[in-house]
C-alpha cells in the first residue's frame, strides 16, 4: 500500500502513575494523496493521540510501536532529529483545537506565520510578503495591519484562520485538523470548514479531520474511521457510514445524533395562563449591553428554547431568570417566592457539584432548602441513577451521571421553572441523548417548565415546544419549534438554521431510530 499515509498496528501507551494505560491499540490508517479522511470518536477514544503520533510529538514516557508508520515516504518512527524537523516543517501541517492557546500570546500573528516561511528558507523581506499572501489566502482582510496584531486581539474564527495559514505556509502534503471547530460558533465553523475545503481543492493536500462530531466529519470527509477506546472499529466512505453503519457502536453514535428531520414537539395551549411573563428585560455591563429589551412568556409544562451565538445574551437571560443578576424590567412569576421557584442545571457537571459532598449530602441539603418532600433515594431513582451512587463523591461518577445528579438536585423541590444552561454541551453524544430523554420524561411527569439555552440547534429542536432566537441581546424571533426549523421568517434565524444543517450531512430518515 503506497498511499500518502500508511499506518499498520499503531499502539500507544501513556505513562500513568504506577503503570501504563493503552490509549491506542492496533490502529491501521491509510490516506491517499489529496484524500479527505476523517476520524470520529468520543472523548478518550485516542483520536488526538493518533494525530500527535503522526508528528511524533507525545508525552514523556509514552511508548509507541507500529508495524509501519509511513507518511510521505518517510518512516516517521526512525527519523533522526534533523530529518524529523524537516519532515515536520515540509510534509505535515497541524491545526489545533483551541487556537487561542495554540498561538504564542507574546508574538504577533504575522511574526508567527512568517516564522513558518523563514523556516522554509525565505529571507525576511520575502517572508513578510509571503505572510501577507498567506493571510489573504485564508480570507483575512487587511493582511498588513492584521499581521501586527496579537492573538488575543482576534476572534476565535480569525485565530483559526491564522493557524491554517501557518500550517499551510510550507505547502505540506498532509494537513491534520484536530477538533478545529469545537468551541466556535456554528456559522464560523461552517466558514472555516468551507475554507479548508476550497484550499484543499486548490492546493491538493490530503487532510485528516478529527472530531467527536460525526455529522461534521461525515460532511467533510471522503472516508471516515470510527474509534472507540483506542480501537478502530470500521472505516468506510462517509455516505456508507451514515446510511449503513456496520458496527454496533457506530450505529449507536449515528442514532444518538439529534436529527433535523424527526418529530417536533407541538406547542402547549397558548390560551392557558402563563407561568412566567418577562417584559422589557435589560441588563448591561460596563459599556456592553447584554440584554436589550427582551419580552417573553413561558407557559406551564412548556419548554422555551433559547438559541443564539456566543455574545447574544442567552446566558445572561438565564441568570436573570434564576435571580442571580440584577436587571431592569419586570418578571412576573406565578408561583410563591419561597422556596426559590427557579432552579438551574449548568453546563459543566464537574463544576456544579461540591467535590467534597457525597450525592446523598448534596441532595439532602437541596431537599431541605427547597422544602421538598422526597428522599434522596427517590430522587436518584427518578433520574435513573443506581442507588449506590448516593454515597459516592462526584469524582467517582461519569459525566452523564454527574449531570443526572445535578438534574435530581434541581427537582428536589417543586420549582415550577428550571433553567437549563447548555446542559448537554459538555457530554458525549451518546450520553446527550439519554439526558435529553430524561429531561423530557421528567417534564411529562411533573409539568415543570424549562428555559432551555443552547447553541446546539439540533438538541433544542428535540426538546423545545417554542423557540426564541437571540442576537445582540434582542429576541429576533419567537415561534413554535416547527416554524423555526421549517419556515423561519427572520433572515438571521434562517441563516442560523442553514448553517447548522450545512455543517452536517442530514441523516436519511430511515437511518434514524427515532
Amino acid at each position: 500500500m503506497t498511499g500518502l499515509v500508511s499506518v499498520r498496528g499503531l499502539t500507544i501507551d501513556h505513562r500513568v502513575d504506577g503503570g501504563f494505560r493503552t490509549a491506542v491499540q492496533g490502529v491501521d490508517l491509510d490516506i491517499a494523496e489529496g484524500e479527505a479522511h476523517g476520524l470520529v470518536g468520543e472523548s478518550g477514544s485516542g483520536k488526538s493521540t493518533i494525530a500527535l503520533a503522526l508528528t511524533r510529538y507525545l508525552p514523556k514516557g509514552a511508548r509507541v510501536h507500529a508495524g509501519q508508520l509511513r507518511v510521505a515516504g518517510r518512516d516517521v518512527l526512525t527519523l533522526d532529529a534533523a530529518s524529523l524537523r524537516r519532515y515536520r516543517r515540509d510534509d505535515v501541517g497541524v491545526v489545533y483545537q483551541e487556537p487561542s492557546r495554540a498561538l504564542n500570546p507574546t508574538a504577533s500573528v504575522g511574526a508567527q506565520v512568517a516564522e513558518a516561511h523563514r523556516l522554509r528558507g525565505l529571507p525576511r523581506p520575502a517572508a513578510r510578503e509571503a505572510t501577507h499572501d498567506s493571510l489573504a489566502e485564508v480570507g483575512l482582510p487587511d493582511p498588513e495591519r492584521l499581521a501586527a496584531r496579537y492573538p488575543h486581539e482576534l476572534s476565535g474564527g480569525q485565530q483559526q484562520r491564522v493557524m491554517i495559514a501557518m500550517a499551510l505556509a510550507a505547502r505540506p502534503r498532509l494537513l491534520i485538523l484536530d477538533e478545529p471547530t469545537t468551541g466556535l460558533d456554528s456559522q464560523v465553523q461552517a466558514e472555516v470548514l468551507a475554507l479548508i475545503g476550497r484550499l484543499q481543492q486548490r492546493l491538493g493536500f490530503a487532510s485528516l479531520l478529527i472530531s467527536h462530531d460525526l455529522p461534521l466529519v461525515a460532511a467533510h470527509s471522503d472516508r471516515v474511521g470510527v474509534l472507540e477506546h483506542g480501537r478502530l472499529l470500521e472505516t468506510t466512505s462517509s455516505a456508507r457510514l451514515v446510511a449503513e453503519p456496520a458496527h454496533e457502536y457506530t450505529r449507536r453514535l449515528v442514532s444518538a445524533i439529534p436529527a433535523f428531520d424527526g418529530a417536533v414537539r407541538e406547542p402547549v395551549d397558548a390560551a392557558a395562563p402563563p407561568l412566567l411573563v418577562g417584559t422589557g428585560l435589560r441588563k448591561h455591563y460596563q459599556g456592553h449591553v447584554a440584554l436589550d429589551g427582551v419580552d417573553l412568556r413561558i407557559g406551564r409544562g412548556e419548554t422555551l428554547g433559547i438559541v443564539g451565538e456566543s455574545g447574544s445574551g442567552k446566558t445572561t437571560l438565564g441568570r436573570v431568570m434564576a435571580g442571580l443578576t440584577a436587571y431592569d424590567g419586570e418578571i412576573v412569576l406565578d408561583a410563591p417566592v419561597v422556596p426559590p421557584p427557579v432552579q438551574i442545571v449548568f453546563q459543566s457537571p464537574d463544576a456544579s457539584l461540591n467535590p467534597r459532598r457525597t450525592v446523598r449530602q448534596t441532595l439532602r441539603r437541596a431537599i431541605e432548602l427547597l422544602h421538598g418532600d422526597g428522599t434522596p433515594e427517590e430522587l436518584v431513582a427518578r433520574t435513573g441513577l443506581p442507588v449506590d451512587a448516593l454515597d459516592k463523591l462526584p469524582h467517582q461518577l461519569s459525566g452523564g451521571q454527574k449531570q443526572r445528579v445535578a438534574i435530581a438536585r434541581a427537582f428536589a423541590g417543586r420549582s415550577p421553572l428550571i433553567v437549563c444552561d447548555e446542559p448537554t454541551s459538555a457530554l458525549d453524544v451518546t450520553v446527550q441523548a439519554t439526558v435529553i430523554d430524561l429531561l423530557i420524561d421528567l417534564q411529562r411527569r411533573t409539568g415543570v417548565s424549562y428555559l432551555f439555552i443552547s447553541h446546539d440547534l439540533a438538541v433544542v429542536r428535540r426538546i423545545s415546544h417554542r423557540v426564541a432566537v437571540m442576537q445582540h441581546g434582542r429576541l429576533v424571533e419567537t415561534a413554535p419549534a416547527s416554524d423555526i426549523f421549517g419556515a423561519a421568517r427572520h433572515p438571521y434565524t434562517q441563516s442560523l438554521v442553514a448553517a447548522a444543517r450545512h455543517g452536517r450531512r442530514d441523516l436519511p430518515a430511515d437511518a434514524v431510530a427515532n
Binding site: 504564542n104 507574546t106 508574538a107 483575512l140 492584521l146 480569525q158 466558514e191
Partner: protein, 343 residues
C-alpha cells in the same frame, strides 16, 4: 501603535471582519494611576509611621531625659527639638518638613537627618545593586537548569536545597558564608564597613560577602518561579505548535519560551529590587556595613524619632517606586496587558 480608531478593548467573538482594536494609551494610563496611588499610600503610611513613632512610645522628651527629669525640663527639651505642640500640628509640620527636605536633626548623632539618611541610602543602593546583579542571573540560570531536568533526582534535590535556603534567616546564611570564606578559606574580609571609601576594588571585595548573602536570601523563590515558568511554557500548546512547525534550538527558546516564562517573574523581580535598594537591616548589621538598614536599627534602639520617621518613609517610597517600574515593564513586555482595560 498606529492611529487606528479606538474601540472597545478585548477580543471579539462571533463572525465579522477583522475590526481592529487598539488601546494605545495603556502606558500613560497606568503611570497616571500609580501617580495617584503612590502619594495616597505614602500619606497613609506617614500617618501610621507618625503615630507609631511619635505617639505610641510616649512623650519624646520624657523618653530622652528619663523619669527623674522635671516637667519643665521635659517641656524645654521638647521645644528645643520641635516636638512640642498638639499632635495634629506636629504631624503637619513633620509632613511638611519631609516633603521639603527638612528632616530634622538626629537625636543620636546630632547632625541633620537628611544628608545622613541619604548618604546611608547611597551605600545601601550600591550594595543592593551588587546583590541584584548576582541574584537575577543566578536565579534564572538555576530555574532554567532545573526545568530542563524536570522530575529528575537533581531537580528534586535542587528544590529541597533552594527551599532550605529560603527558610533560613539571612544572618544565618551570612554566618555560614563567613565560616567558609573568612574562616576556612580566608579570602574575604569579615567586616565590610571599614572598606567603604577605600577605592573601587577593595570596596567591591569587602561588599562581596554581604552581596552574596543578600542574593542567596532571595534566590529561591525567583528560581522556583523561573522553573515553573519554563516548565509551563514547554508544556504549553503554543510550544507544541512551534515544535511541530519545525522550530528548534535557540530560536525556539528565545521566541516561545523565554518571554512567556519570564513574564510572571517580573513582578517578583520588581519587589525584590525595591527591597534590596532599601537596605537590609540584618545583613548590614551582621557585616557592619554602613547602610540605611543598619542606621534604622540603631535609631530604633536609641529611639531617634527623626531618623526613624525619615528612614521608614524613604524605604516605603523606594518600594512603591519599584512597583511602578514593574508595572511599566509589564506593559512593555506583555502585549495582553497593553491592550486590555485597566491595570
Amino acid at each position: 501603535m498606529t492611529a487606528d480608531p479606538r474601540l472597545e478593548g478585548g477580543p471579539r467573538l462571533g463572525r465579522g471582519p477583522a475590526v481592529l482594536r487598539v488601546r494605545h494609551r495603556g502606558i500613560g494610563r497606568l503611570v497616571g494611576q500609580r501617580a495617584i496611588q503612590i502619594p495616597a499610600v505614602l500619606l497613609v503610611v506617614s500617618v501610621l509611621v507618625f503615630w507609631l513613632i511619635q505617639v505610641v512610645p510616649g512623650d519624646p522628651g520624657r523618653n530622652a531625659l528619663g523619669q527623674y527629669a522635671t516637667a519643665a525640663q521635659v517641656q524645654e527639651w521638647n521645644a528645643a527639638h520641635g516636638l512640642d505642640g498638639g499632635l495634629v500640628d506636629r504631624y503637619l509640620s513633620w509632613l511638611g518638613g519631609f516633603v521639603t527636605g527638612q528632616w530634622g536633626t538626629s537625636l543620636v548623632y546630632g547632625e541633620p537627618v537628611a544628608p545622613l539618611v541619604l548618604g546611608r541610602l547611597g551605600n545601601s543602593v550600591l550594595l543592593g545593586l551588587y546583590a541584584f546583579a548576582i541574584l537575577v542571573p543566578l536565579a534564572i540560570g538555576i530555574g532554567a537548569w532545573q526545568a530542563r531536568r524536570e522530575g529528575s533526582r537533581t531537580d528534586r534535590a535542587a528544590t529541597v536545597g533552594l527551599m532550605s535556603l529560603a527558610s533560613v534567616p539571612e544572618f544565618v546564611i551570612g554566618v555560614l558564608l563567613l565560616i567558609v570564606f573568612a574562616l576556612i578559606f580566608p579570602v574575604l574580609p569579615i567586616q565590610s564597613g571599614d572598606a567603604v571609601g577605600t577605592g573601587f576594588f577593595p570596596q567591591l571585595r569587602a561588599m562581596t560577602l554581604p552581596a552574596v548573602t543578600l542574593a542567596l536570601g532571595y534566590v529561591s523563590v525567583l528560581a522556583r518561579m523561573t522553573r515553573t515558568g519554563v516548565v509551563e511554557a514547554t508544556g504549553s500548546q503554543f510550544y507544541r505548535t512551534a515544535v511541530i512547525k519545525g522550530l528548534h534550538g535557540g530560536a525556539l527558546f528565545r521566541r516561545h519560551v523565554a518571554r512567556n516564562a519570564l513574564i510572571p517573574t517580573i513582578s517578583l523581580i520588581g519587589v525584590y529590587l525595591g527591597a534590596l535598594l532599601g537596605g537590609s537591616a540584618v545583613v548590614e548589621t551582621l557585616f557592619g556595613y554602613p547602610g540605611l538598614g543598619e542606621l534604622l536599627v540603631t535609631a530604633t534602639q536609641k529611639k531617634d524619632v527623626f531618623i526613624l520617621a525619615a528612614g521608614v518613609m524613604v524605604t516605603g517610597l523606594i518600594s512603591l517606586c519599584a512597583l511602578l517600574v514593574t508595572d511599566i515593564t509589564f506593559t512593555v513586555v506583555d502585549p495582553r496587558v497593553r491592550f486590555t482595560e485597566g491595570g
